[in-house]
């Protein structure tokens, strides 16, 4: 793939917490329009990697480039303005706000009117702006099929719905790159299918590049264009799903034994859209 279509480039990242080396010399790049998955056993450094990209952690060594910008030292909110959005592994909704308000927070960096100009609602374009934002938020709500709960308090919803609202909030940022940390954890098969469909639509229709961490191998292998495998903070493989499946190092990382094939259940792809 040619260099100019690269959206995100991670170069030789190392991150340590005291003596614990969470990431060691990890490099990879994500092309525009890709669905890129990061997999690996528990504690492999997947979420640490995502946190480095979103800016929650700053790696001690290495650099991260987004488009043409070096973003390694930027704050999370600055990265958000450049077009990086994310969801969290353990739900991080504003549970006391309505679903609508939660999503509106996602529009924060796109809103121009402030407290004072907003007061002159009809004269400063605040009205037009608000209507435009409402329209876009409604579009997202429509797309993720959460219309029926838009006025509900976020904290009272079921787990699957909260996951969906969190995705809606990240989508509201209008990011070019969306980072999803285990979007399907704790979901039943039907909810997983829905979520898989949303991710594909986000990628194909909304034009978002997706970087995703997921444990469900079926989902990962079906959705991803490319997959990176981490183990003990090191990258052990990158490639297309079928290459990854056949990679002996990956099998070893997951099963601990070199000659064991992945069990049928783990590679099962049935029922995933």
């Amino acid at each position: 793939m040619s260099g100019h279509t690269t959206l995100l480039k991670v170069e030789d990242i190392s991150l340590a917490f005291g003596g614990v080396k969470a990431l060691q010399g990890v490099s990879f790049s994500v092309e525009i329009g890709e669905i890129f998955s990061i997999i690996g056993p528990n504690g492999a450094g997947k979420t640490s990697m995502l946190n480095c990209i979103s800016g929650r952690y700053q790696p001690q060594v290495g650099g991260i480039h987004f488009r043409d910008d070096e973003i390694t030292k930027l704050k999370p909110n600055q990265r958000c303005h450049l077009g990086i959005g994310r969801t969290f592994q353990n739900l991080a909704l504003f549970s006391h706000m309505s679903v609508l308000d939660n999503i509106m927070v996602g529009r924060h960096h796109l809103l121009k009117n402030n407290f004072l100009t907003g007061g002159l609602y009809w004269f400063t374009g605040a009205r037009r702006e608000e209507l435009e934002h409402r329209r876009q938020v409604e579009e997202i709500i429509d797309f993720l099929e959460i219309t029926h709960i838009r006025k509900a308090q976020a904290g009272t919803l079921s787990y699957g719905l909260r996951k969906r609202v969190e995705l809606a909030r990240a989508v509201a940022l209008k990011p070019d790159l969306i980072l999803l940390d285990e979007p399907m954890a704790g979901m039943n098969q039907e909810e997983k299918e829905d979520m898989a469909r949303y991710i594909i639509d986000l990628n194909e229709e909304w034009g978002m590049t997706v970087v995703m961490i997921e444990h469900d191998m079926g989902v990962v292998m079906d959705l991803s264009h490319r997959v990176m495998v981490l183990d003990f903070g090191r990258r052990i493989a990158t490639g297309q799903p079928d290459e990854i499946m056949a990679n002996p190092l990956v099998k070893k990382a997951y099963l601990g034994e070199e000659d064991d094939a992945l069990g049928d259940e783990e590679i099962s792809t049935e029922g995933v859209a």
Partner: protein
């Protein structure tokens, strides 16, 4: 029973209560966005009142000029306080930050004493008539002004949190700073803004009280009085702060009345608000309007 005195006291209670409400809102503003319980809230009143007094008396500025100048100073003061003292504490345990506000409270208390002395000083005459007659009752002009200003501030606060972009950002930041940041909100600016707003509005209240009672370190006692008001209303509710302030204001004055007419204890008005506080918290532990924790197990 002396009905006229009771009426007068109730009206006084409402006016003082609305000032409690305003200061309580400032307190809630900081709590809502930063989770810090600000023990130096009363000192904001003190600093504002002294600054305005200093400008009016030492420089003989007219009120219409000295007053906005004080408010402008308080904006800078609020931001500076956040940037210099509190910003390095972002990410540290909240309890440490609260301890710092206690330290700040003592520090400013002492600094004001050093700069302006410890006796009560009075403001120059600001209004032509010191008090006006409302429905047969004498009410200080400054109190009328304070009532109007308080109501305006309350409406502005409500609007701010409910509908403005910054208000939404503050609510989001209060819930989770990391998440707010990942959604493009600058936590530092939100914090600076909330301290600045809180300092300005508190100073406003301080000036009004100073105009009526004179300025002295006793003003910072307001910061303590605000506690029952805030906890009564629910720590994180703007409406609760206002209602709590009014209740405490009226309760104080009615207790004073009951005390002077029948009970003769001597200082019932000081402790009455705290009795009410204990009783209400026994019935509603989150306060009247506080947010309950939502739990799905």
């Amino acid at each position: 029973m002396n009905t006229e005195l009771l009426m007068q006291l109730v009206v006084n209670g409402l006016i003082v209560g609305s000032l409690y409400g305003v200061v309580a809102m400032c307190f809630v503003l900081i709590y809502k966005s930063t989770r810090v319980v600000n023990f130096a809230q009363g000192e904001f009143l003190l600093i504002g009142a002294w600054t305005c007094w200093w400008l009016l008396v030492k420089f003989e500025l007219p009120f219409w000029f000295g007053f906005p100048l004080t408010l402008a100073f308080m904006v800078i003061f609020g931001i500076a306080l956040q940037v210099i003292v509190l910003r390095p504490m972002i990410g540290e345990p909240i309890i440490s930050v609260i301890m710092i506000t206690i330290g700040l409270s003592f520090f400013f208390q002492a600094l004001m004493g050093l700069l302006f002395g410890h006796e009560t000083k009075t403001y120059p005459q600001v209004f032509e008539t010191a008090s006006v007659n409302v429905l047969g009752m004498q009410v200080q002009t400054a109190y009328i002004l304070s009532m109007v200003v308080s109501v305006l501030i309350m409406i502005a606060f409500y609007y701010f949190f409910k509908y403005s972009k910054a208000g939404l950002a503050m609510r989001a930041t209060a819930f989770d700073q990391q998440v707010a940041q990942s959604l493009g909100i600058s936590v530092k600016s939100v914090f600076a803004a909330s301290w600045a707003i809180s300092a300005v509005v508190s100073a406003l209240a301080g000036i009004v009280i100073g105009m009526v009672n004179g300025v002295s370190s006793a003003l910072s006692f307001f910061g303590i009085k605000v506690f029952p008001a805030v906890i009564l209303g629910g720590l994180d509710s703007i409406v609760g702060a206002v209602v709590g302030g009014l209740i405490i204001g009226v309760l104080e004055n009615v207790a004073e009345f009951a005390d002077s007419q029948w009970l003769h204890i001597g200082n019932l008005y000081v402790i009455a608000p705290f009795y009410a506080l204990v009783i209400i918290l026994m019935i509603k532990p989150y306060g009247l309007f506080g947010t309950k924790d939502i739990e799905r197990i």
